[in-house]
């Protein structure tokens, strides 16, 4: 089974540590990396994370750091195999909409429930990926069946026209 690589990008060390510990306890197979800025996250994208848990505000320590949405847009544009779960202390609907429009898989408010909500978002993401995989398989199977039918009809037609049948 492929190992899931997860990035936690958060400049608040306490929340990042608690999230890492929570996910480690829940998913011991996860390989988790923590980064304080989006720039650090971008530099490490060659590790091919399947999930990035990304804070909306990334400039509380480094004032020049790019904000979470800028990093989200960059990931969505360049890394199609990576899903992003946005985290923010803001429970304002317009911020959630902004993140979802920019391509986030989900949006979680940073508070005492954010750990369990992130876990739930990951579970939903896994189910979503399973559905996408099944859909791909069915499409492939469908294509094979259609081509098989075309071949049978074509061969029957050739036999008919050449007088082998009837």
């Amino acid at each position: 089974m492929k190992k899931e690589i997860v990035f936690i990008v958060d400049d608040e060390p306490m929340h990042a540590q608690m999230m890492q510990d929570h996910l480690h306890a829940k998913y011991p197979g996860f390989e988790i990396y923590k980064y304080k800025t989006g720039e650090e996250c971008n530099e490490n994208m060659d590790k091919h994370p399947s999930i990035v848990i990304l804070d909306y505000h990334l400039d509380s320590v480094d004032k020049s750091a790019r904000n979470g949405v800028q990093i989200l847009e960059h990931i969505v544009k360049k890394y199609s195999g990576t899903d992003v779960i946005m985290i923010s202390g803001q429970d304002k609907i317009d911020i959630a909409i902004e993140c979802m429009r920019a391509g986030a898989y989900d949006y979680v408010v940073k508070n005492e429930t954010s750990f369990i909500r992130t876990e739930n978002a990951i579970e939903r993401l896994f189910k979503h990926r399973e559905v996408i995989q099944s859909l791909k398989k069915y499409k492939q199977l469908n294509r094979i069946l259609v081509w098989g039918l075309v071949v049978i009809v074509a061969v029957s037609l050739i036999f008919y026209l050449t007088g082998i049948i009837g």
Partner: protein, 117 residues
């Protein structure tokens, strides 16, 4: 010691009563929070409202993890007023409230650490 400021039920739940983990998170809070309060005071003095809002915003979840609910409203108002760059006198009072409340909470948390270690 009876705890007036803190409520560690979230932390106990989160760590499943793992004392080492509780001490780890409390220590992180004790290292980070005083710095955040000093930063807020500095930013207020410099009328740096944008960054004051960010600092208050970052402190909010940390207080929640330690169950310091009595300061939640004050931090929310600092964040709100700083975001609107208004009521500097009220912000000063609110920062003082947070500082004083946290000072009491730090003493209680030190006591928890002593008991758990």
């Amino acid at each position: 010691m009876e705890y007036q400021k803190i409520n560690l039920s979230f932390l106990e739940n989160f760590t499943r009563n793992d004392q080492a983990k509780m001490v780890k998170y409390i220590n992180m809070f004790l290292q980070l929070a005083p710095g955040s309060i000093e930063t807020m005071k500095r930013q207020h003095a410099a009328a740096d409202w944008v960054n004051l809002r960010t600092t208050a915003h970052s402190l909010k979840p940390q207080l929640a993890y330690m169950g310091i609910d009595s300061l939640k409203e004050s931090v929310l108002r600092i964040e709100e007023y700083a975001g609107e760059a208004k009521n500097p006198e009220v912000i000063a009072t609110l920062i003082a409230t947070v500082e004083s409340g946290c000072r009491d909470a730090f003493i209680e948390l030190q006591d928890v650490i002593q008991k758990l270690s």
